[in-house]
């Protein structure tokens, strides 16, 4: 176990460093940025080097992880051989799992609970490493396997495998410590953390490199033609090159902070920090009204979600008294190890086989009146014992269930804001006002992914009710965003709505139980969406316009951009040869669709989710290829734009190529090495099984186990559906924009109301304006009138009265007090005048005075005291 603890320490050190390096870069650029080279040119290299170093460290940590915990093969197609049609069937890894497990499980099997390592001090804070390898769970699953499934050695190994969930947590530093709350800077590291570190730092590195080229305009003074000053001229301002990279560095630090955070409080802090960074970066050209309002909008809308998150945090802390994800181990005064269970252990305790249950704290909190009556009748210890005895009974009565739901919904609220889910999606398209690298990094690949990440991280605590809500929100989002994307003409907005739509996919996947599917899509989407954004940035860089209607035929002039963007488009629509090979999106989207289909089979009443997913796939294909066709194929629509189009410099195209390669291969797995397998390793304990429940918000639902979706019957349908819808979308787009079989304008005319509705983005902004902004303005006007009319006049009266009083006082001051002081001052002055003649400025005279004074003092002392100076 020492080895494992060392691994935790190693990983926490590596990832902690990778997390802090961008902060150092931020500080360096903050203080010295403008001095780094001409116009701060070198700040780009500082930031890029920092994030590159982070990437290197993350990669090293990744390698360390892979060596210590090699991922197991999850045979997606093997489920049928092992009767995976059982709803909650585990996935067995068949023949080729044995030797892989030999080493890994040899450890896990014998570790038992001695797996706690002695706490080691780092900086005076107990750093502890908890490893969630639990034999009780293994035994229970084992028993379940015996009872329900065919069972062989491989299954045994798999049982061990699914119960072994390598994760490490600990605290670097405690900010505040009380019996009921520990606020600390800590880490929670499992394969999801490691994977996301690699993804985030990799994409961020690419985008930093890209941005050095994209932002080079900022190196010298800029005349912003979109800002018209009152004088009629355009704004002329110095470049803000270093400030941009400063923001990027801070953003990377914040994002990595969310990923590594060991507790919800820390997540919240970095959550807000990410929001601030987003605000900085969207408002990069803050002189533009559109940019500054977009920044404000993003921040305010996020705050709405964060309010819900705060409620969730309060629900959790108030009832459970901890915000840590993992268990905390500390040593008490007697030297015993005290395990302070974290959220996951409380909600899914090991004694209960990691099944979801309402934690004791919530039950007791919900039954506070009964607890009070018990406490009134007996002594404290007895009451505590009685309460402990009653808890399970109360839990069976469903007490506290609502608290768990509130907590889940609250946290999800925050995720909605950050991941731009309907109805809080309105900020993301507007955020495209920021520079394209920002859009690529912040608003497609990472920051918006934070919401999905947190939902995934928080997944064990979510009840079926919450999951259904999540699924519906995701479905609605995906559909609405996709429809709006159909009619957008701004190239970045199309991508923005596609981002919203894809985030909806992820949420949908998580909601219907596809934990791996959702996070898998998160990873692949990060690659291809950053690629797409950077391609669009390259196009914008070349055309100096965002409007697709003025583009066209760019493929010849910008081959790198065009082809890499095609790779991105194919990846996002999930193109591939069914059942053989495909782009990265093929794998992730298929698993989402499969899970949605499974959910529909288990819960027929929620079939709409499946239709939304499938329909969304077609819409995605359509609008993505509409974008690509309009931009790169056909004849140039605007000669003025076309004539000075050029390919972007190598520093911008190189990241495109790198990312396009990743967009293609990110979903592939090489034997057991693959993103999906790695994610499977991080699957929260207990969530491999299905979950049945609900009743508070919806009728009872069953969230099926994800493994079941790998069943061929489901998988086949899903894959075919995905392929068909995507192909249909692409063909339709080709028909519209390549073959010109149909005139899009004609369609728009025919469907005028629908088109207008979509062009106005479902009137969300207008509705919000009516519902929230206008009333707020009205209330503000009322308050203002109250302020001015009533309160101000009262204050004015007091002020007037004070002035009158003060006038009297001033008279007294001037005549009496000042008179006294003046008399004193005059006396001092005249005395000084008379005395100044003593200061003759003659050194020798002063010496004489000293001597005379000494002699005089000596004589006086001799006379007054009859002793001699030197007593015998």
């Amino acid at each position: 176990m020492e080895v494992q603890s060392d691994l935790g320490a190693t990983l926490s050190t590596l990832l902690g460093l990778a997390w802090l390096i961008p902060l150092g870069s931020f500080a360096a650029i903050l203080f010295f940025g403008p001095k780094m080279g001409p116009h701060g040119r070198n700040s780009a290299w500082v930031a890029t080097a920092a994030i590159g170093a982070s990437f290197a460290l993350s990669l090293f940590a990744f390698g360390t992880w892979m060596v210590a915990h090699p991922p197991q093969v999850v045979d997606h197609h093997g489920a049928e051989h092992h009767g995976a049609e059982h709803g909650e069937g585990e996935h067995h890894d068949g023949a080729h799992g044995g030797d892989d497990h030999g080493s890994g499980h040899g450890d896990a099997g014998h570790e038992e609970h001695s797996s706690w390592s002695p706490p080691r001090g780092s900086g005076g804070v107990p750093a502890t490493f908890a490893r969630f390898a639990d034999d009780a769970a293994a035994a229970e699953q084992h028993a379940a396997g015996e009872g329900g499934h065919e069972h062989d050695d491989a299954a045994h190994a798999t049982a061990g495998h699914s119960s072994e969930r390598p994760a490490y947590s600990g605290d670097w530093y405690s900010l505040y410590r009380s019996p009921t709350l520990v606020l600390s800077i800590g880490w929670y590291i499992d394969s999801l953390t490691v994977l996301l570190f690699v993804v985030v730092t990799f994409i961020a590195t690419c985008i930093h490199v890209y941005a050095t080229g994209y932002m080079h305009d900022e190196l010298h003074d800029i005349t912003d033609h979109e800002v018209t000053l009152a004088s009629g001229g355009h704004l002329h301002r110095p470049g803000r090159y270093s400030r941009f990279f400063q923001g990027l560095s801070l953003f990377c630090f914040s994002m990595l902070g969310i990923v590594i955070a060991g507790n919800l409080a820390m997540v919240f802090v970095f959550w807000e920090l990410v929001g601030i960074c987003s605000w900085f970066l969207i408002g990069f050209s803050f002189e533009r009204t559109s940019a500054s309002t977009a920044a404000n909008k993003a921040f305010i809308v996020n705050r709405v979600g964060d309010f819900g998150m705060l409620i969730g945090l309060m629900a959790l802390w108030g009832s459970l008294g901890t915000l840590h994800f993992g268990d905390t181990v500390s040593v008490d005064a007697d030297g015993h190890q005290v395990v302070q269970p974290g959220l996951f252990s409380l909600v899914r305790p090991a004694e209960n086989g990691h099944a979801l249950q309402v934690p004791d704290g919530m039950v007791v909190a919900a039954a506070s009146d009964r607890v009070a009556s018990i406490a009134a009748g007996s002594s404290a210890e007895a009451a505590a014992a009685e309460v402990a005895g009653e808890v399970s009974e109360w839990r069976a009565m469903g007490m506290g269930n609502w608290l768990l739901v509130v907590a889940g919904l609250g946290i999800f609220c925050g995720c909605m804001g950050k991941s731009a889910q309907v109805p809080l999606h309105v900020w993301l398209p507007d955020a495209m006002e920021g520079p394209t690298p920002v859009s690529a990094l912040v608003h497609s690949a990472t920051m918006v992914a934070a919401g999905v990440y947190l939902t995934g991280r928080f997944y064990p605590v979510l009840t079926p009710d919450v999951l259904v809500v999540i699924a519906y929100i995701g479905a609605i989002t995906l559909f609405i965003a996709a429809t709006i994307a159909l009619v957008c003409t701004d190239i970045k907005r199309v991508l923005a709505y596609s981002t919203v739509s894809q985030l909806g996919y992820m949420m949908l996947a998580l909601g219907v139980g596809g934990w791996v599917a959702g996070l898998f899509h998160l990873v692949t989407h990060a690659f291809f969406k950053s690629l797409l954004f950077m391609c669009s940035g390259s196009v914008i860089h070349a055309c100096h316009t965002n409007d697709m209607r003025r583009m066209g035929g760019l493929l010849k002039k910008m081959p790198y951009t065009g082809w890499t963007m095609l790779a991105g488009c194919l990846a996002i629509i999930g193109a591939g040869v069914p059942f053989v090979i495909g782009f990265s999106g093929y794998y992730s989207k298929d698993s989402i669709l499969a899970q949605a289909l499974l959910f529909r089979q288990v819960n027929p009443s929620h079939a709409v989710l499946w239709y939304a997913a499938a329909g969304g796939a077609a819409l995605t294909a359509f609008y993505m290829f509409r974008l690509w066709f309009m931009t790169f194929l056909g004849e140039p629509r605007d000669e003025h734009v076309a004539e000075h189009v050029h390919e972007s410099p190598a520093v911008m195209t190189a990241p495109l190529v790198v990312l396009s390669v990743m967009a293609v291969i990110a979903g592939w797995s090489l034997g057991p090495l693959g993103v999906a397998n790695l994610l499977e390793q991080a699957r929260p304990l207990g969530t491999a099984d299905g979950l049945t429940g609900g009743g508070l918000l919806t009728a009872a639902v069953t969230v099926p186990a994800e493994a079941a979706s790998h069943a061929d019957s489901i998988h086949f349908t899903a894959t075919i559906t995905a392929f068909a819808t995507a192909a249909a979308g692409v063909l339709l787009a080709a028909a519209f924009y390549v073959w010109r079989l149909v005139n899009p304008a004609a369609i728009a005319t025919v469907l005028r109301p629908v088109h207008t509705f979509l062009e106005n983005k479902w009137y969300f902004d207008e509705i919000y304006d009516w519902i929230f902004v206008k009333p707020a303005h009205g209330i503000a006007a009322l308050a203002s009138a109250n302020d001015r009319g009533i309160i101000d006049s009262i204050i004015h009266f007091f002020a007037w009265a004070s002035r009158q009083l003060a006038a009297v006082d001033a008279w007294m001051d001037r005549v009496l007090v000042d008179g006294l002081v003046n008399v004193l001052a005059a006396a001092t002055w005249s005395t000084g005048l008379r005395l100044r003649s003593i200061q003759t400025g003659r050194l020798r005279q002063y010496v004489m005075f000293i001597v005379v004074g000494t002699v005089a003092i000596f004589l006086l002392v001799s006379m007054m005291f009859s002793t001699t100076v030197a007593s015998p």
Binding site: V851, V852, T868, V869, A870
Partner: protein, 229 residues
């Protein structure tokens, strides 16, 4: 010869009727020191004043040797006489232009100074004679002379300067440094003085450096000359 000397100046008389060299040298050095000090006051030429001062200080060093403070005496010669006075003469010569070598003092000032100085001297001498224990105690102390004759002063002083006291009680064996009862050393003052000297050197060099800025910058010239008027 010896008897007549002894009658004239009993302080020179030794018990066996010969000449008391200690008394003789004390008288010699004391007279030298005092007379030369007075000569410093009376001289008008600065260089001569410095010359008399050097001799006076040298005679004082002799007094120190007589008092058994050989290290201090040598130090007096080295630093006071050798160092300080050379510096002083430097200053004299650098500033010695004919009109300033002697600057006359009004007679009134001299008389006044004489009166005040006389009063001070009277007070000090009265104090010097007021302690009965301060005169002729060598006679009462007995063994003090023999001890003092061979008592080296350099090493104890050096040890005291680095913080260890080996004199007094320690030397006589009554106490040992381990007791913590002995008087404290002077390490800290020693260090402070050394730093002080360094600072003084730097400061003096800064103050006395030639003001070349006059030619280069008009502003600086105004400040350095006109500013003092």
């Amino acid at each position: 010869m010896s008897s007549s000397v002894a009658q004239l100046l009993p302080v020179l008389a030794a018990a066996e009727g010969g000449l008391n060299w200690h008394g003789f040298f004390f008288l010699l050095f004391a007279l030298l020191a005092c007379c030369l000090a007075v000569a410093v006051v009376l001289a008008d030429n600065v260089v001569r004043m410095a010359f008399y001062l050097v001799l006076s200080l040298g005679a004082t060093a002799g007094l120190f040797f007589l008092a058994g403070a050989e290290f201090v005496g040598a130090m007096q010669l080295m630093i006071y006489v050798g160092g300080t006075l050379v510096l002083l003469i430097f200053g004299v010569m650098l500033t010695a232009q004919e009109p300033f070598v002697s600057i006359k003092t009004p007679v009134r000032d001299k008389v006044l100074a004489g009166l005040v100085g006389g009063a001070l001297l009277a007070v000090l001498i009265q104090a010097a004679l007021s302690g009965p224990a301060w005169s002729g105690s060598a006679a009462e102390g007995g063994g003090g002379v023999a001890l003092a004759a061979g008592q080296p002063s350099a090493t104890p002083l050096g040890m005291a300067l680095v913080g260890i006291r080996v004199d007094g009680d320690v030397a006589s064996g009554e106490k040992s440094p381990e007791d913590g009862q002995v008087r404290s050393g002077y390490l800290l003052p020693f260090e402070i003085v050394s730093v002080h000297l360094l600072v003084v050197l730097v400061g003096a060099a800064y103050l006395a450096r030639s003001k070349r800025r006059k030619s280069s910058g008009g502003q600086g010239a105004d400040l350095s000359t006109g500013g003092m008027r």
